[in-house]
Amino acid sequence: MSAARPAPAASARRGSTGARLLGALAVLVALVWIFPIYWMVNSAFLPTNALRRPEPTFLPFGGTLSNFTNVFRDPGFFDAIKVSLAVTGITLAVAILFAFLGALAISRFRFRGRKSFIVTILVVQMIPAEGLFISQYHMLDTWGLVNAVLGLTIVYVAAILPFTVWMLRGFVAGVPMELEEAGMMDGLSRTGAFFRITFPLLAPGLVASGVYGFLQAWNEYTLALVVMTDPGQRTLPLWLQGLVEANKATDWGVVMAGATLISVPVIVFFLVVQKRMSAGLVSGAVKG
C-alpha cells in the first residue's frame, strides 16, 4: 500500500486559485483545532491579573512561570504523577505482552474456538464501560482493591486488551509466513524462526499498540474516578479535575499550567508519531 500518492495534490495544484482557496480553508480549520491548545499554553504563562482583564491577552508577552511553580508546590501533583506512572507502566507492560501472545495465537494458528475468540474481542469493545463501572467497583471492593494501583490496573488491562489484540493481529498477519518458512528451511526451529525473523519486523506494531495503550491509560478518567476515591491515590486526570474544582473561576492560570503539564508527555508522544507518519508519507510519495 503506497500510503501517500502525491497525485491528488498535484491535480489540485493545476487549478491554482481554487486550490489556494482550499489551502486557506485547510489552514483556517487547522487554527480552529489548534486554538484551544494554544490557549491552554498561553494562559498557563499569564499572571492572574492578565487573565482577569476584560480584554483577553492573546500573546504571553511579559509572561510568568509562577503558575507552574504553584503547581510544583502542590504535593498532590507529585503523588498523582507516581500513581499515573505506576498504573500506566504496569498496564502497558502487561497488556502489550498478553495481547502479543493472543495476536500470535489467532494469526499464526488455526484452532477450534479461534473465530469465537475473534468475535468475542470485537463484541467486548461494544460493551459500554460507562455502564459497567459500578459493577467493576463492587468487584474490586470485595477484593480490597479499591484505591489500589493493582485494582485500577486490572480494569485498565481488561479495557485495553481487546483492541490491542486486534491491532497486533493485523501486524503479525502482515509479516509473511514465507519469511519464517525460509528461516526454517535454513535450519531454524519454528520458535527460533519466529523470534529471529518475524519478531524484529513487528517492532513498529508493538510501538503502535504501546502508544495506543499509553494514551488510553494516561488519559483515562471515568474508571479512575470510580476506583480511586482516596485523594492520595489520584491519577493525573483526577488531580487536574480536583485543581479545577479548587480554583474555579479564581485562578485559571494554575489550572492551565496543570493541564499543560499533563499534556506534555502525550503531545511529545504524538509528535514522535507524527514525524514517523510524515516520513512514511514522503517515502511512499517517492516510491510513487
Binding site: 469493545q125 459493577s135 501486524f171 509466513m177 470510580v226
Partner: protein, 331 residues
C-alpha cells in the same frame, strides 16, 4: 517498502478496512512436521498463548458484566453488603426504571445526543479528509498537526481548556461575541445553566475531540482508491464531485461503516465531558445522559445494574444494523 504502512498505522488504529489475510500456518507446519512428534504441545500451543489475554478480559469485563446482569434481577441493599443473600425480584428494577418518565427522558436525550454528535462528527470528518486530499503539502501538514494536537491532548486537559474558553466572566468566547461581534448580552453569559445550551457546548467539545480520528482514518482510506480509477473517471467526464460521490466514497464505505459504528458507540456512552461540565456548575438532573445517570445511581446497585443493562440493549439496537453489515462484508 513496508514503512508507510506501518508508520501510518502507528497513528491510525487499524480499523479493519481490509481484513488482513491470516496465514494458514498450522496446516503447512503439520505437513512439514509429522503431527505425532509433539502432538499435545502443538495442539495446546494456541490455547496457552490465548490464556493470558483471556483471563484479564474475563475478570475485568466478563465477571462484572455477568454479575451486574444477575443483580439487576435482585434486590441488593445494605443488608446484602453485609453478606445477606440477595432476594430475587424478577423484573421489578426494570419496571421501576421504565415506569419513570424521567428515565425515558434520559434515554431519549442520550440517543438524540449520540445521533447528532455522531452525524456531525462524520460529516465534518469526511469533509476534512476530502479537503486533505485536495490541498497542497504545506496546508495538509498544517491541518494534520492541528488535528493531531487536538487528538493527543488528554481529555481532562481539553475539558479544562474548554471550560476556560466558555467561562462566563473572562472566557474568550464571550469576549469574542461581545466585542468584535457586538453581541453585548453575551458578556456575562453562562453557557451551561440552560440544558439546551449545555448540550450545545458538550456537542462542540465532543465533535472537536472526535473529528481527528475520523479524518485520519477516512483520509487513509481515500488514499487507497486507485489513481487509475480516478483518471478513468476523469477521462469519462466525471467532475470532482461526481468522482467523490460515485467513486471515492463508495470505495471507502467499509471504513466509513466502521468509523461510524465507533462514533455511535462512543457518543452513546459519553461520560467524562458531561460529568466535568456538570461539575462546572450545571444543573445535574436536567443534564444527565445515560453514563452520568448510572453514575448517580451508584448507591443503588440493583437499579444501576438494570440501567446499565438497558444501556447495553440500546447500544445493540443502535448498532445491530452496522454489525450485521460488517459481519457480512468482512469477517
Amino acid at each position: 517498502m513496508s514503512a508507510p504502512r506501518t508508520s501510518s498505522s502507528t497513528v491510525l488504529p487499524p480499523v479493519p478496512p481490509r481484513a488482513p489475510i491470516v496465514a494458514p500456518a498450522a496446516p503447512e507446519a503439520a505437513v512439514r512436521r509429522p503431527p505425532r512428534r509433539r502432538p499435545i504441545r502443538a495442539r495446546l500451543g494456541p490455547y496457552l498463548l490465548l490464556v493470558p489475554a483471556l483471563i484479564p478480559i474475563a475478570v475485568g469485563l466478563g465477571y462484572p458484566l455477568v454479575r451486574q446482569f444477575v443483580l439487576s434481577f435482585q434486590e441488593y441493599g445494605l443488608a446484602q453488603q453485609f453478606g445477606q443473600p440477595a432476594e430475587w425480584v424478577g423484573l421489578r428494577n426494570y419496571a421501576e426504571l421504565l415506569s419513570d418518565p424521567y428515565v425515558w427522558g434520559v434515554i431519549a436525550r442520550s440517543i438524540a445526543f449520540c445521533l447528532v454528535n455522531a452525524a456531525l462528527t462524520m460529516a465534518v470528518g469526511i469533509a476534512l479528509a476530502v479537503l486533505m486530499t485536495r490541498v497542497g503539502r504545506a496546508a495538509r501538514i498544517t491541518l494534520q498537526v492541528g488535528l493531531l494536537l487536538a487528538w493527543g491532548t488528554p481529555v481532562l486537559a481539553t475539558m479544562t481548556v474548554w471550560q476556560w474558553l466558555f467561562d462566563s466572566q473572562y472566557g474568550v468566547i464571550n469576549w469574542l461575541l461581545a466585542e468584535p461581534l457586538g453581541a453585548e448580552g453575551m458578556r456575562q453569559h453562562s453557557w451551561i445553566i440552560e440544558p439546551a445550551s449545555f448540550y450545545f457546548v458538550a456537542t462542540v467539545i465532543v465533535v472537536w475531540m472526535s473529528v481527528p480520528f475520523v479524518v485520519f482514518t477516512v483520509y487513509a482510506g481515500l488514499l487507497q482508491v486507485p489513481e487509475e480509477c480516478m483518471e478513468a473517471a476523469q477521462l469519462d467526464g466525471a467532475n470532482a464531485w461526481q468522482r467523490l460521490r460515485y467513486l471515492s466514497l463508495p470505495m471507502v464505505k467499509p471504513v466509513l461503516l466502521v468509523v461510524g459504528l465507533l462514533q455511535v458507540i462512543w457518543d452513546l456512552r459519553v461520560f467524562t465531558q458531561i460529568y466535568v461540565l456538570q461539575r462546572a456548575g450545571a444543573p445535574t438532573r436536567e443534564t444527565h445522559l445515560l453514563g452520568t445517570f448510572i453514575y448517580s445511581l451508584s448507591k443503588e446497585f440493583s437499579l444501576a445494574g438494570a440501567m446499565a443493562t438497558i444501556m447495553l440493549v440500546i447500544t445493540l439496537a443502535l448498532t445491530v444494523f452496522y454489525i450485521r453489515r460488517m459481519l457480512r462484508d468482512d469477517v
